[in-house]
Symmetry: C2
Subunit: 216 residues, 2 copies
């Protein structure tokens, strides 16, 4: 009855927990996911676990082979590049549609996120969430929920690689922040095309940097 404790679908609950575990690195790429084990760990049956896995597979977090069960998806360099390419195509649309509708308040809020991102004692998970908030904040005015959801999911699929490769964070973050500020600046000046170009550059550069780490 407590609205603060909404009755949660077991499958939805398991889905969230597994997604978190993958993003945070507790479930590593390639590791097998045993239905019985998950069910036992959370004190539920296999049915909702299986439903959660179906959804996770559709979202790309998990790969399953018939009869052999599921494992955390391992992304090749080519697949990472493809995800960034997809983000590029979709996020430029979001930015174009969003910019005319953004208010000074939106910009201020986004500025705040940038400030938080400057902090040098962010754990990778927090950093990744703020990075995501920065981008989605710029798309707030787009009013394209499907595309936004797709982009959020793509971001989620890359997230665990950021949390894994914390080591390369330093230069990656500094450069990222420069690019973030440049994008926000162009947005404030209502320079639509320039902002999109900067976003494109930011994503392309992030892509190469991450792939460089992956193939090393």
């Amino acid at each position: 009855m407590n609205p603060a404790e909404p009755k949660l679908n077991t499958a939805v609950y398991i889905h969230r927990r597994l997604r978190e575990a993958i993003i945070e690195g507790q479930l590593q790429s390639g590791s097998a996911i045993r239905q019985d084990e998950i069910a036992a760990r959370y004190g539920v049956s296999k049915i909702p676990v299986r439903e959660a896995l179906v959804l996770l597979e559709a979202e790309g977090f998990v790969t399953s082979q018939p009869g052999r069960g599921a494992s955390v998806t391992e992304l090749s360099a080519a697949e990472v590049e493809e995800i960034y390419l997809m983000r590029l195509g979709l996020e430029t649309i979001l930015l174009e549609r969003s910019l005319p509708n953004l208010t000074p308040l939106d910009f201020a809020r986004t500025e705040g996120i940038l400030h938080a991102l400057d902090s040098d004692n962010l754990d990778p998970l927090a950093w990744q969430q703020l990075d995501r908030e920065f981008h989605s904040g710029l798309y707030r005015g787009a009013n394209l929920p499907r595309i936004q959801a797709t982009v959020a999911n793509l971001h989620g699929n890359l997230a665990r690689y950021y949390t894994v490769y914390q080591s390369f964070g330093e230069t990656f973050r500094v450069q990222g922040q420069q690019e973030h500020r440049a994008i926000l600046d162009a947005c404030r000046r209502q320079e639509n095309a320039e902002a999109c170009d900067l976003l494109r550059h930011h994503l392309t550069r992030s892509s190469s940097t991450l792939i460089e780490q992956l193939t090393k």
Copy 2:
């Protein structure tokens, strides 16, 4: 043991059947989907039916409310427009990446599909499939399987509206074919940018035509 009869996951089987039924209009937009009924119809239990529904929901074919079950997703005009916008962003990427890798054989094959599309006694379902083959044929050289799968799914989500509104097919198809030929022609001439522009135009125009029908 017969390789022509590969042992199929029940959930996968149900998923395919329901997807077909939605695209072909046997399950109409907004109609409720009762788990027990589907299970009884195909002689299976609810478990694989539920898994199929989870996947269909992730793909956008079905909308479910907790405790109340699932129904075939009804797309608003805004959502149709958003899907076309998404296709636009992704398909231009596919075309750009694919074009340099397409061979004369690919073009000939696509030409053949265009020819088939000229036939005036196509049922809406066949037309929709050929239309899909035309587009995906042009992206064959892209080697971006995730994006291709996403685009195919978006196409699938629009498909049932084509089969429903067969009536407006005549002019829609003729104009579509003109645009298809123009796109293929530009591709053959390796005019990358022109082909993308034509594709953009084709998708934008298709979007408005369909929405016009929907809001009528």
